[in-house]
Assembly symmetry: C2
Homo-oligomer: 363 residues x 2
């Protein structure tokens, strides 16, 4: 029996999308073959790949200054590709050796920083490590002596989320790991130079990473491994070797669904309503303590702890019996975490809030 899947990713997909994928396993879109068998050089797939790009650009209002690329290796591979590929902005010619600035708001931001240190000079601009990442670090500066600035918009593990991008000099390319909140809200894409996201949360199934990048910020270094060079993806339209076809089909179907539901503005509205309900319940009851500071709270991942470990274990069990799964905290931090990506309905969020209240009465 299907349960409401509140795990942090890979996570729930909307039922209409699953139905289309299911229908497509034996034959997808009159292609005579199924999704898992679809060739990457077929007209159908080449068209779908282009349409997926167009949908991404249209939904997020991305200008034609950007390329949309489909990479593999998750966000982790981007942690390496970014420092290896992003050049020094032409309009900041002070030095080839300008540091890349990193805002460290959580575990993944830290890993991105550590990886960049392997390949170029790095400066940590702000960190909330001392607060165990329970709040967002603050950065606002017109410094232009940086080759780029990297931040993570939503911290899946700690449950914090930037509601607005950091204020940075317009001369410095802003780069964002949006793996866990892309397509949950509109973005002001003009402020960004590169946005990347693993698909396995709001955007599809695990196995593909979307990279939206200004071509102008990229070097062209042919000494890089072929699959680590953004130019490979640009030149081949992300089809230089066999890409993860069925995973890209799932992204396409998710984007279709987001369009049909009203786009990212609607996704944002729902996301606020869902998280408001759940935070309200958590703030009301005594059994649980929300982890993230109020001003830093994420609309995607809601982190909290029980008064003790026993209560946490009891609640996991109670929630499971009420039809919810996947609420164990990340193995690094423990506690509890309920994730509300696009596929989770308002009704399910309300029921989960009620589940918190019901539990607090009997514990």
């Amino acid at each position: 029996m299907r349960l409401v899947n509140l795990s942090a990713g890979p996570s729930a997909l909307p039922l209409p999308v699953l139905q289309r994928l299911k229908d497509g396993v034996l034959e997808y879109d009159n292609s005579s073959v199924g999704i898992f068998e679809l060739g990457h050089r077929t007209k159908l797939f080449e068209k779908l790949l282009e349409e997926t790009k167009v949908k991404i650009k249209t939904l997020l209002k991305i200008s034609d200054d950007f390329e949309v690329l489909f990479c593999t290796g998750g966000a982790t591979q981007q942690f390496s590709m970014i420092p290896l590929n992003v050049g020094v902005p032409l309009n900041v010619s002070k030095s080839k050796d300008l540091p890349a600035g990193y805002i460290v708001s959580g575990h993944w931001a830290r890993l991105a920083t550590d990886e960049a240190i392997k390949f170029r000079k790095v400066e940590i601009l702000a960190t909330s490590e001392d607060a165990n990442y329970s709040r967002l670090p603050h950065y606002s500066s017109d410094r232009d002596d940086l080759s780029y600035i990297h931040f993570t918009s939503n911290n899946t593990i700690f449950g914090t989320q930037f509601q607005k991008e950091p204020e940075v000099s317009s001369l410095v390319p802003l780069i964002c790991d949006a793996s866990s909140d892309i397509f949950s809200r509109p973005i002001d894409s003009a402020k960004y130079s590169l946005i990347y996201a693993g698909a396995q949360k709001n955007l599809g199934t695990a196995g593909v990473t979307i990279v939206i990048t200004r071509k102008s910020i990229l070097d062209d270094n042919s000494d890089l491994p072929v699959s680590m060079n953004y130019q490979t993806y640009i030149k081949s339209k992300s089809n230089f070797n066999t890409p993860p076809v069925s995973t890209i089909v799932s992204v396409y179907e998710i984007l279709r669904w987001i369009e049909e539901e009203g786009g990212v503005a609607e996704m944002e509205k729902r996301s606020h309503l869902r998280s408001k309900e759940v935070y309200q319940a958590l703030d009301e009851v005594d059994a649980f303590i929300p982890f993230a500071e109020k001003s830093s709270r994420s609309n995607m991942n809601i982190t909290f702890t029980g008064q003790n470990k026993e209560i946490e274990a009891k609640f996991i069990n109670f929630a499971y019996k009420s039809g919810f799964m996947g609420i164990e905290g990340h193995r690094m931090v423990g506690g509890l975490r309920a994730s509300f990506y696009n596929a989770i309905s308002l009704e399910d969020a309300s029921s989960f809030a009620q589940c918190i209240r019901d539990f607090s009465k009997i514990v």
Copy 2:
């Protein structure tokens, strides 16, 4: 309507596997979630990942000296990872700078060679480029002054296949790109040090690459990008970040099916029967000219040309009407190519042979 899919990959999956995948889209194996939603830290997936490794090792009789890894980025990423990760064998201490030997039997072997040249000294040991790769190059030597030897067991584009691995010194690690014939026959794994294969032919859907490697041949260079370092995959059991879960599920289901059908010896038997039928028809008729030299012929990809381009176009159309698709040659070489991976039945191969004969009578 489903057609018999003779394309070179991504390619046909067996119907019983498709049925299991289809059944699993809404809920896979009582997990309460579907294949596309399955978490990489769930007990079910961790167990499935381990069982997939065990099945690979059991089916191919791989000893415990080897690790089985699940990478992304296709064979292309392996073209870089191999020269970046394989060390110099300890028992050949002549020089840190021993060249890596490449046997160039086709387009992909050439790309593997070009990529390796970026990262270390390379020597081309044999090539059949002068014959437009219509035959296999010959290499047999007890040279031990090489850091490793790389060859491609089956050449998907040109339709040639090594029926036996090249004879090399036991002191030199032998590395094989088996992307298009892995699991189509038994292998003498003791002769190999590393075997890799994109899944999208005999082994599943596109999006994961299997690497079977002796741990002893690998360096541990922490300066490499995380996702380019085999040690990352070894230490994390291929689960350091979100792997392509649904693709790995498809590999698992294919391996189950291969077991149920009788293992790789049975796959080899079928593969010989299929290709024999089709080559026989091609050799009989006047309309077509087989591309590969007889002694180099592949059991996986059967390449041929028509007496002229018009005949080729007519045959593609004729075959389509007879229920076969995907027989256009690779865009680099043109002509025709029919691929017979594990999922194609003997009956379908016989019908295709008949289709060749029928066509030759009317053309």
